[in-house]
Symmetry: C2
Subunit: 504 residues, 2 copies
């Protein structure tokens, strides 16, 4: 039920018929196309006449005719409404068939990007009782109340400029200051404001970095398995690529080719295996970078989730030669829909990153930067990380026990925490089939295929995250998973399918 | 004055000396580098010892030594603070000199983007009493109170998912529905949800469109003068380009080459001349697009500012063949720092745009989409446009009169309104020099050079916007402008310079 503005109506100079007919056609076609819905209020005859520059009596006559045909009803002096019994738009699409489109889109599109299929997660995942899904905000852990307080403050008169202004070259100085003084030092990193850029999340930081460092002639090395979004970014950049298999210690620097120009790595918690790169490998990687003249892009996407042990300092903290570009993210510690992350690197690099960002999107919205700055500087971020660490620690312990009790196989071991386990299926069991089979039982897991290079497909791994499942649901969820595995090992193969949503 | 977390301290395995010495070095170097500031509170000896895994007595001894040397002060039981008389960091940069950076950045950067110099606007422009600057939010016109109310609603428990979740493929359905049902119909456009994509402002929409439609072998035509951000985007895309001079009716379709693949145009209010493309030219442009098989990108960046007359429907409303890609923006009607705009086009195009957006930045932040959806659907957007139209109408009238009274020269005439005048200087007077000369007199204008193709530079135009200057300041501002023009025509040439900020 909406009030329809007179400004949504236009006269068509090519219409064949009287003005009154045209008005009637305008309204009926808007109803039949679904633009006007039963109960919507039409503009007054006075306003519509003034807007179209025609006589009011013409509008009144048209409305009266539409009343008689039950397209409209009148509620006395309050005006005209689309009748509740007006003809409904047909179920099929009347307004514009694809057939009218004369463009040969297969030719018109200079570049195609839609091959990118992000990780599949049912949009209604909160309806599933056992969601072992990764990277979403847990309403029981996120300090929603204080976020609102900070957002309110950032909406105040004093922050009017931070809210409304567009600016190209600067980020929110309050947010940058907090990152420099309180977040980077936790990672052992010292940086100046000119060495930091706020981005629209870590994905945006990775994308910007790839555009600047890579060309079609350059070689990028990346971990296998890895974050699928990174592989897609490298594909789109059309650089040469080298996928380096990780082991239980993460990336092995001796496996790199001397020709490489940039190495993308996740040393804190390798994505998705959770391996932490040992200090010797970090030093070897940096020595190699210096000797072979390449750069290292460190994606430190969830360092805050180090509740098992003091996190090791970032690779960037060991960087004495400006060879490491560091990427941080607030997606895990605050929430992913915030879309805020940051890049740290040498000034010449950050200068280019800032210019590319301005070209592509100008800047991350000021209001969100300022809200985050308040949330961080008032200490809510620290409390939240502590709260998450405690909850994740408990969940992880419960899960570890359940996994061992059911004899499921972990593919690696995380030293510092993280928010997930990386698992292997028994011989002959596809993790995609397992994920599908579990949907019917209310269990969501992430099959591992998307993390692997497509030319060496792997369907024996899966990720079990504990960031969105309450501790008291974990045992039953793992039990169901174990049962499904047993069925898949012994029973007949189920067809691979996507079932309809169910209630549990 | 901040509380410094223990987590910002790390032991260095390579440190030569005792643990206590290392702790002292840690604190003094943090103070000397400026990371710790006078008054900052240090972590308690208990917390720091636990974090570093060392004995508490070692920390206490180190702190005591630092007290004696006046790096720290103690406030009884409340803990240790950086002394107000602690040594200050030197004015030059101690922590990391450029000399340590061993990277040859001129080689390491695969692509450079920093040639892009956006329009210059002093960051402290609000201090100037006569700011004829473009595109910023006027606090007296923006409905800040209701924006806050809507933001609060969007921060509520019911919108938790819209606030926090990350999603790739969808936009906020409430915002998309409003755009489809209420905004596009005002422009005469009918579209389905699959034909709309929310972007991070119009700049982002233009950038995405250029990436998809253009390659190095394709030819893009654009208006001269034009929005400088568009020219930069086309440069970065490295497509072939054709700059088409506009006249008082905007873009002339007969001036297009038959080889063109995409035409970028601003038919409602040509940027920056404000010309409105007449219906005959619109039809001719679309006929030509169909005959020569090209696409048209319509940037409808400020259609809401049509207070002089009913706005003509968008070019897209005449498009029967899917040849027009339409770009809308909330930067002018709401505020530029919001960073929200939208693309409307055929489904195959929007599918690629969505995929590219996911790759580059995932999605525009959900909270801002939802806040805008509330602001729009509660009618505040309509009221605001009306309020802006009234104020702009008044300002425009005052300005028109002042411009004529002083005999200044308009370069074109806007039929529907807009928010600026496009002006010409007298023969021999550079608009850059004029802009510089006016700074000392508290007047800000936008010299036109940035709008023109660099190979045919123009320094005789300038833009005078009335979106940020109160009506009662306009007469005096224009009078000062006229005086400066007289001085420049008669007096000795002033050196071209950027003066220091002044008080007026």
């Amino acid at each position: 039920m909406a009030t329809i503005s007179e400004q949504t109506f236009f006269l068509d100079p090519d219409f064949e018929g009287t003005l009154q007919q045209q008005l009637q056609h305008m309204v009926t076609s808007a109803i039949l196309s679904g633009r006007l819905k039963p109960g919507d209020k039409l503009p007054s005859s006075r306003k519509l006449a003034a807007h179209l520059g025609i006589s009011r009596i013409t509008v009144t006559l048209a409305y009266t005719e539409l009343l008689a045909n039950d397209y409209l009803t009148s509620r006395g002096r309050s005006g005209y409404y689309v009748s509740l019994s007006a003809p409904r738009p047909p179920a099929f699409d009347l307004t514009r068939g694809g057939s009218e489109d004369s463009v040969d889109w297969s030719r018109a599109l200079g570049q195609k990007f839609s091959t990118y299929a992000p990780l599949h997660r049912p949009p209604d995942w909160r309806r599933y009782p056992y969601p072992f899904i990764y990277g979403q905000t847990d309403p029981t852990l996120f300090d929603h109340r204080n976020w609102r307080v900070c957002a309110m403050q950032a909406l105040g008169q004093r922050d009017f400029e931070a809210l409304t202004a567009d600016y190209y070259e600067r980020d929110d100085p309050k947010l940058v200051e907090y990152i420099l003084r309180h977040i980077l030092p936790r990672r052992g990193i010292t940086a100046r404001p000119e060495e930091v850029l706020v981005t629209l999340g870590a994905q945006n930081a990775l994308w910007i970095t790839a555009q600047i460092l890579l060309t079609q002639r350059r070689l990028a090395a990346f971990e296998n398995p890895c974050y699928p979004g990174l592989r897609e970014i490298l594909n789109q950049t059309r650089c040469k690529t080298l996928a380096v298999d990780v082991d239980t210690d993460g990336l092995d620097p001796t496996a790199l080719s001397g020709e490489v120009d940039a190495v993308f790595t996740t040393p804190s918690h390798q994505c998705p295996t959770n391996a932490t790169l040992p200090l010797e490998r970090r030093r070897a990687l940096l020595d190699r970078a210096e000797a072979d003249n390449f750069l290292v892009v460190e994606d430190d996407y969830e360092f805050e989730m180090s509740f098992l042990d003091t996190p090791s300092p970032a690779l960037k903290s060991l960087d004495r030669h400006g060879r490491v570009i560091y990427i941080g993210s607030f997606s895990k510690s605050l929430f992913p829909g915030l879309r805020l992350g940051y890049l740290v690197g040498s000034e010449p690099f950050i200068r280019e990153a800032r210019a590319l960002r301005a070209l592509v999107l100008r800047h991350p919205p000021g209001h969100l930067q300022r809200t985050a700055a308040y949330f961080l500087s008032l200490g809510h971020y620290d409390s939240q990380i502590k709260r998450m660490g405690l909850a994740y620690g408990e969940r992880r312990a419960v899960m570890d026990q359940a996994i061992r009790a059911h004899g499921l196989t972990m593919a690696g071991d995380a030293q510092f925490g993280g928010s997930s386990f990386w698992m292997t299926t028994p011989q002959g069991v596809s993790s995609s089939a397992l994920a599908d089979a579990l949907l019917d039982h209310g269990v969501l897991i992430e099959p591992g295929r998307a993390f692997f290079a497509p030319d060496a497909p792997d369907d024996r791994h899966y990720r079990l995250a504990y960031s969105s499942i309450p501790a008291d649901r974990i045992a039953e969820g793992i039990a169901r998973l174990a049962q499904a595995l047993t069925r898949l090992q012994t029973g007949p193969g189920r067809p691979h399918r996507t079932p309809a949503p169910m209630s549990f």
